[in-house]
């Protein structure tokens, strides 16, 4: 086991002071949502995308059902373009926490060799993420799917309910969401319909990091600065260590200290220059950051409302 590799950045394992009231309240709310969904639905599943939000989600799920096991599987939609460190981390967590892990790759996309480079980020996302997710949800006949989305990420997410209703073809109708009063959630659906549940709705990026710190939650090392190879392309720092990476004419492969604020497919996820090698460093950097975390994501930049459009079609 590579425990040391994934835990190296969290310090002070012994001293664990009680959570501050703000984080405690967020934790309580998330646990409440986990338990409510697990009790009300027949076949829940948790989307596990290996990033920091998923890591917090996983930690909260373990807390919610303790001393029992997590009573549902975790689903990872693998596009084939994830950082290898993410996959290693995923498998390690599955082993360490005895998780029921389901991995799905869109067979059509794999056969047609869909690539963000040759087919563009929009088509790649459509086929390898959105379509793949629909396939996996249909195959598992899941009636509820947990996701780690937060309302502070993006303007259309800020509108989403904690129980977000989906039609049998996984569509979201943002104009007609069910009212959601107090913490009384309406989990009534017909066969084929489903609900996406978001236990982290009210968390901000800073909350996520402060919680990771307070709870010593292991993370993929990509979140911490290290010497890595990259190029600058369209104003984005693109990781250049994969064998499928090809430098464009005139592009210089550089090597320097960089890290990632969010994790996704490596060709679509921009890095930032940073020397933050510990959690303290990362949080300090975040508190003075002048751009939002999604700035590094190619998917959000196409146009205003592009996230809403993808979400209507079934993207998380």
């Amino acid at each position: 086991m590579h425990i040391s590799e994934f835990d190296a950045h969290t310090q002070d394992k012994q001293a664990k002071p009680p959570l501050d009231p703000h984080l405690k309240a967020l934790e309580n709310e998330a646990i409440h949502i986990f338990r409510e969904v697990a009790a009300e639905f027949e076949r829940p599943v948790m989307l596990y995308s290996i990033g920091k939000d998923s890591s917090v989600l996983l930690h909260l799920a373990r807390k919610a059902f303790y001393p029992g096991r997590i009573p549902f599987p975790l689903l990872h939609v693998d596009t084939g373009w994830k950082f290898p460190e993410m996959i290693a981390f995923r498998d390690e967590m599955a082993k360490r926490f005895d998780l029921d892990l389901v991995v799905h790759t869109n067979p059509r996309g794999a056969k047609e060799n869909i690539s963000p480079f040759t087919h563009g980020s929009a088509l790649h996302t459509d086929i390898m993420k959105t379509e793949a997710l629909r396939q996996a949800l249909d195959a598992g006949q899941y009636d509820a799917a947990f996701g780690g989305a937060r309302r502070d990420e993006e303007a259309s997410r800020a509108k989403e309910r904690i129980y977000s209703f989906r039609t049998p073809d996984h569509k979201w109708d943002p104009r007609n969401q069910r009212p959601e009063l107090w913490n009384v959630y309406n989990g009534m659906i017909r066969r084929g319909e489903s609900v996406r549940a978001f236990p982290l709705s009210n968390w901000t990026e800073v909350d996520i990091w402060r919680y990771i710190q307070a709870e010593n939650i292991p993370l993929p090392p990509l979140y911490y600065a290290a010497k890595r190879k990259f190029v600058e392309r369209d104003g984005m720092l693109m990781w250049a260590e994969d064998k499928r990476f090809e430098a464009l004419p005139g592009e210089q492969v550089q090597e320097d200290y960089i890290r990632f604020r969010t994790l996704g497919c490596w060709p679509l996820t921009g890095a930032i220059r940073s020397h933050a090698t510990t959690l303290d460093d990362v949080i300090a950097e975040l508190e003075i950051a002048t751009v939002s975390e999604r700035q590094g994501r190619a998917i959000d930049r196409d146009q205003a409302g592009s996230m809403e459009k993808k979400k209507r079609e079934g993207y998380f």
């Binding site: 405690k24 009790a39 009063l181 409302g305």
Partner: protein
């Protein structure tokens, strides 16, 4: 960045001074009529508290186009994130935003003013501690303003800010400000709201939002909006006793049986005696289990797993409560509700009612309807149309468990679900158990029986009793306590 430099920037949990301030965020809503400037106000608040990052600001400037002659961006676009909202220039659904000042953090829900989307305003109001009610200084107080003030009050909001907005468009006229503030004071009084701060505001120009408006309004000496928000109070802990609505039963192995849920009131510790409702069985708390450690106490808001000292029948939807101050259990309750969907609420129709983790069948009989213009309740036994606020009688097939909403905002709240559409069609607040609030046979003499539990169960199962179940009060206790209570009556 070096390790030493970071230490100065963040305050790790251990070093912070939690005793000095409540770090729980204040939850607030903006409400009021269409176009009064709610989204603009929150957008301005986010902008001036530096909650808008550079890339978001760039996107805002790009999307704003030319919407006003002041050369300012359209701050409402920071909130109105749906395509339909941007196209129509209105808010359709509630947006949740997070921001902080040096003094505290905030969760704000920006709600739509449009009457058609009142349900989304109610969604935002249900969890808020404070309401910022906006009025367009030119248009004044409208029916929709009253509706929102009323819904916010019904849902337990006690602190209001009256933001008299677009003051720039009436030349910063003090007389008009005073007139509107006075008019609202009377409405507030009739609603029983004591805490109102009126502020003259220009959301667009950012006057009296975060920065003061002294330059244009030297006559105003009160606080800015943000100053009021920083001093507002977060809802205090509920006053009734311990409540744990059971969400699920955890049985990972033969030897462990725990009841999982979120404490909805009071506190609990190992050794406490509790009652399981509606069955009335009693037990003692053996352990409070959480992932981190076995705890020696839990308080309202904590998500816990409770282990009892004996084998009792407990299922999802039951409530574990303190013996001394139990919630009301009965088949008939009175409530107030807001109808949220186009079909309204039909008398005699069977709905699903969900409260906490308990879902059960209910029939609803309206008794009166609020007239928003006069603020009066009028007798009304027909259907409640969409957006109506009504008083209703609830009748259940099986025992229901509630506290009055006034006493507990969790165990006194419920939603109604239409079984035909599965949609949430009403939000409701319990006034009390039917018999207790001027119900049947109030004058009649009462008899208190103390009998063995098995005999009581047989009588309860009989037809004669079940017909008039809602007139009967039942408490379970031990023989000693029963003798004590009867002794009290004798003396």
């Amino acid at each position: 960045m070096t390790a030493t430099a970071t230490a100065a920037v963040i305050a790790p949990a251990a070093e912070a001074a939690p005793a000095l301030r409540d770090t729980r965020p204040l939850r607030l809503i903006t409400c009021g009529s269409v176009d009064d400037g709610k989204s603009t106000l929150i957008g301005r608040l986010l902008w001036d508290t530096k909650a808008v990052k550079e890339d978001q600001a760039a996107a805002l400037n790009r999307d704003s186009g030319k919407q006003n002659d002041l050369g300012l961006p359209d701050f409402a676009l920071l909130l109105d994130g749906l395509q339909a909202e941007r196209e129509q220039g209105i808010t359709i659904d509630v947006a949740y935003r997070y921001f902080a000042t040096d003094k505290r953090s905030f969760i704000v829900a920006d709600t739509p003013g449009h009457e058609q989307y009142t349900r989304n305003m109610a969604t935002g109001a249900s969890t808020a501690d404070l309401a910022v009610l906006l009025v367009d200084a030119r248009a004044g107080i409208l029916e929709q303003t009253r509706r929102h003030a009323t819904i916010a009050t019904l849902m337990g909001i006690k602190q209001f800010v009256l933001a008299i907005n677009k003051i720039d468009l009436i030349n910063y006229d003090k007389a008009r400000f005073d007139e509107l503030a006075l008019e609202f004071k009377e409405i507030a009084l009739s609603l029983g709201v004591k805490q109102v701060t009126a502020i003259p505001v220009s959301a667009l120009k950012g006057e009296n939002v975060v920065y003061d408006g002294k330059a244009s309004m030297p006559w105003y000496e009160g606080p800015t909006l943000v100053e009021v928000l920083e001093l507002a109070t977060v809802r205090s802990a509920q006053t009734v006793g311990f409540r744990l609505p059971v969400q699920r039963v955890s049985r990972p192995g033969e030897s462990f049986r725990g009841y999982q849920g979120t404490v909805a009131g009071g506190a609990v510790k190992p050794g406490d005696s509790v009652v399981i409702l509606p069955s009335g069985m009693v037990a003692n708390v053996k352990q409070i289990v959480t992932f981190d450690l076995v705890r020696n106490a839990a308080v309202a808001g904590d998500a816990i797993t409770l282990v009892l000292d004996r084998q009792v029948d407990v299922a999802r939807g039951d409530m574990i409560a303190t013996i001394d101050a139990q919630p009301q259990v009965g088949l008939a309750f009175d409530a107030q509700l807001v109808a949220l969907q186009p079909g309204g609420i039909e008398p005699g129709k069977r709905y699903w009612l969900k409260s906490g983790s308990r879902r059960q069948r209910v029939t609803v009989q309206p008794s009166s309807l609020l007239d928003l213009k006069s603020g009066k309740w009028n007798r009304h036994d027909g259907a409640l149309p969409m957006n109506a606020i009504g008083k209703v009688h609830l009748s259940f097939d099986e025992a229901a468990i509630f506290d009055a909403y006034e006493l507990n905002r969790t165990t006194g709240a419920f939603i109604l679900i239409d079984p035909d559409t599965n949609n949430t069609v009403a939000g409701g607040m319990i006034a009390g158990k039917r018999g207790d609030v001027g119900g049947l046979n109030n004058e009649a003499e009462r008899v208190i029986l103390s009998l063995p539990a098995d005999l009581a169960d047989k009588i309860l199962a009989s037809g004669i009793l079940s017909e008039r179940r809602d007139e009967v009060d039942i408490r379970r206790t031990n023989p000693g306590r029963a003798a004590e209570l009867l002794g009290e009556l004798d003396s």
